[in-house]
Amino acid sequence: MIAGGPRSVVRFAATELGVVALAIVYVLAILPFCPELATRDQAFAALVNAAPLLVLALGQAFALLIGGIDLSVSGVISLAGVVGAMLLTSDGGVLADSSLAIPVALLAMLLMGGVVGVAQGAAVAYWELPAFIVTMCGMMAMGGAAVWLTGGARLGSLPLPLLETVQGDWLRVPVILWVATALAIVCYLLLQHTVLGKHLYALGHNARAARVAGISLGRVTCFAYGASGTCSALAAILYTCRTESATPSFAREILLDAIGAAVIGGTSLSGGRVSVMGIVFGALFITLVGNSLTLLNLDYWHVLMAKGGVILVAALLDAARRGVAGGRA
């Protein structure tokens, strides 16, 4: 596969295997400098760290798959986190003492993400508005609403059973990893083994043809953005439980990481192409780059630049891939 000149190298690098190879080469390359990476604990830690980003990137992939984009990620995380925490927190939470508090709150968070996503999808599909602006407004409005609701304060004092469950291990593997793995499997099955998945792909490949084939573009678009919103809410749960508190002003940069992970993992920004496997390694790779550069004791700005460089390479690979697919190299 690799033999056969620079063109096939490009073609290989452009497949989702490319990012797998990239991640491994990267790990091997930095191993001599920070041997700690080679311990079981640290390997698990790296995976756990990548998990929430993976959840976000998988959500983003739904929007990218149909040729759209979802910028509202940080807004949904903030608002969902705050809503959940307001229900749960032991200082003044609405459901603080109820035994049903945890499931109800988690459900409310996921539901909120889903509903917001569907609403954005509807604006994109039925009002024919550009996804970029719709979700940008979503980001601003939801971020603002979260700050408003809390007065800017972080909400802590979450119920211990929830925190212990999410932070703990199950069968010697961290629960967060189970969650992310389960989501990845669900996404993989959904995309590959369900009618809806086939319809999402069709919409991304050629929306006009999909419409003629009797696929309801509105519903599929709403689903894609709804899925993206739900994944953001799930990520909000993970983030909230990891940091044991919900912030009303979640860092916007996470969006760029999520898009970066998806694109490095072989998702095409022009739609119709997504690989769950690729995204898993894309998220892992982005997290590894960030953390290992810290381990190498490089400065914060170097981390930023390295991340930018990686995304740039992904951009060029995306272009090369489109060139190969479109018959021009």
Binding site: E128, L129, W148, L256, W301, L304, G308, A315, A319
Partner: protein, 323 residues
């Protein structure tokens, strides 16, 4: 009537915002506040003008805010090592178009998507700026920051700069072949190529312009602030896109203009912030109101697009009816 409303929605939205705030506070609609508004909107207007140009070619430039920071950091660094202020400003400003050309190359020749190229740049340039400045804040010498307060014929210098930039871009956009061809490129690149337009050159120039605008916007803001902090320019690209869209530019390309569009858009954003300040509004409602205004603008824009399609159909009907 509806047609008039929809066609002039950007200007009407601005007027509505202005009227709304004048009712809210008697101190809003005063000559001083008008000058004030223009001064504050200066750098935003410049940035929005550059962004509008990129949107016209159906691209986007997410790196604008980071580029602003890199330029500011470079300028600050030079000023601190006692470079002549004017020299420092010019040298720092040169970074803008250079980065723009790099974007243009990757987009026009390597065929990479504008979104992801400039996304990468967003990280790279801010990292570079932080590297330059070692994340230190810098206070700039009086000789430099004085320019921000300087007035010419009673109008502050930043307003003049914004005016000149807008004028130049307006001239480029309406009075040069390059400017006109950009509309063709944005409407349909393939058709433009067929019609003999040098699409790649147009894209290169476009991103160079956008970079130059970011640099000038950075310097304009810098003279007003007199200091560089590591957060300088953060998230400004989103504001600029919002302003451009408010001014009637379309993310689908081929539509939008520097004057009056981008100016109206930037002024609307500035008015909202200014008006809320003047009314001493609850700090928490700021993002909500801004989001609402942008969404409203976009909704009008969607209506306008559909009306255009509708009228094209009606026209054909009339034609055949007459036959």
């Amino acid at each position: 009537m509806t047609r008039f409303l929809v066609n002039h929605s950007p200007a009407l939205l601005l007027v509505a915002v202005l009227i709304g705030f004048s009712i809210g506070s008697p101190r809003f609609l005063t000559p001083q506040n008008a000058v004030n508004l223009l001064t504050q909107g200066a750098s935003a207007t410049i940035l929005a003008a550059g962004m509008t140009w990129v949107l016209v070619t159906s691209g986007v430039d997410l790196s604008a805010g980071s580029l602003m920071f890199l330029v500011a950091a470079a300028c600050g660094k030079m000023l601190q090592s006692d470079v002549e202020p004017l020299m420092a400003a010019v040298a720092a400003a040169a970074i803008g178009p250079l980065c723009g050309v790099a974007h243009g190359m990757l987009i026009a020749y390597a065929g990479a998507s504008p979104f992801i190229v400039t996304l990468a740049s967003l990280f790279l340039l801010r990292g570079a700026g932080l590297w330059f400045s070692r994340t230190r804040a810098m206070n700039l010498p009086e000789a430099f920051s004085r320019w921000g307060a300087e007035k010419l014929l009673g109008v502050p210098l930043p307003v003049w700069v914004a005016g000149v930039v807008v004028l130049v871009l307006y001239w480029l956009q309406t009075h040069t072949a390059f400017g006109r061809q950009c509309y063709a490129v944005g409407y349909d690149p393939a058709a433009a190529r067929k019609a003999g337009v040098h699409v790649r050159a147009a894209l290169m120039k476009t991103y160079a312009l956008s970079g130059a605008c970011a640099a000038i916007a950075a310097l304009t803001a810098l003279t007003q602030l007199g200091a560089v902090s590591p957060t300088f320019g953060k998230d400004r690209e989103f504001d600029a896109i919002a302003a451009a869209v408010l001014g009637g530019a379309s993310l689908f390309g081929g539509r939008g203009n520097v004057f009056p569009g981008a100016v109206i858009g930037a002024m609307t954003v500035a008015s909202v912030f200014n008006g809320l300040n003047v009314m001493n509004a609850n700090p928490y409602v700021y993002p909500l109101i801004t989001a609402a205004v942008v969404f409203l603008a976009m909704l009008f824009d969607g209506l306008r697009r559909r009306q255009l399609v509708q009228s094209a159909r009606t026209m054909r009907w009339n034609v055949e009816g007459a036959r």
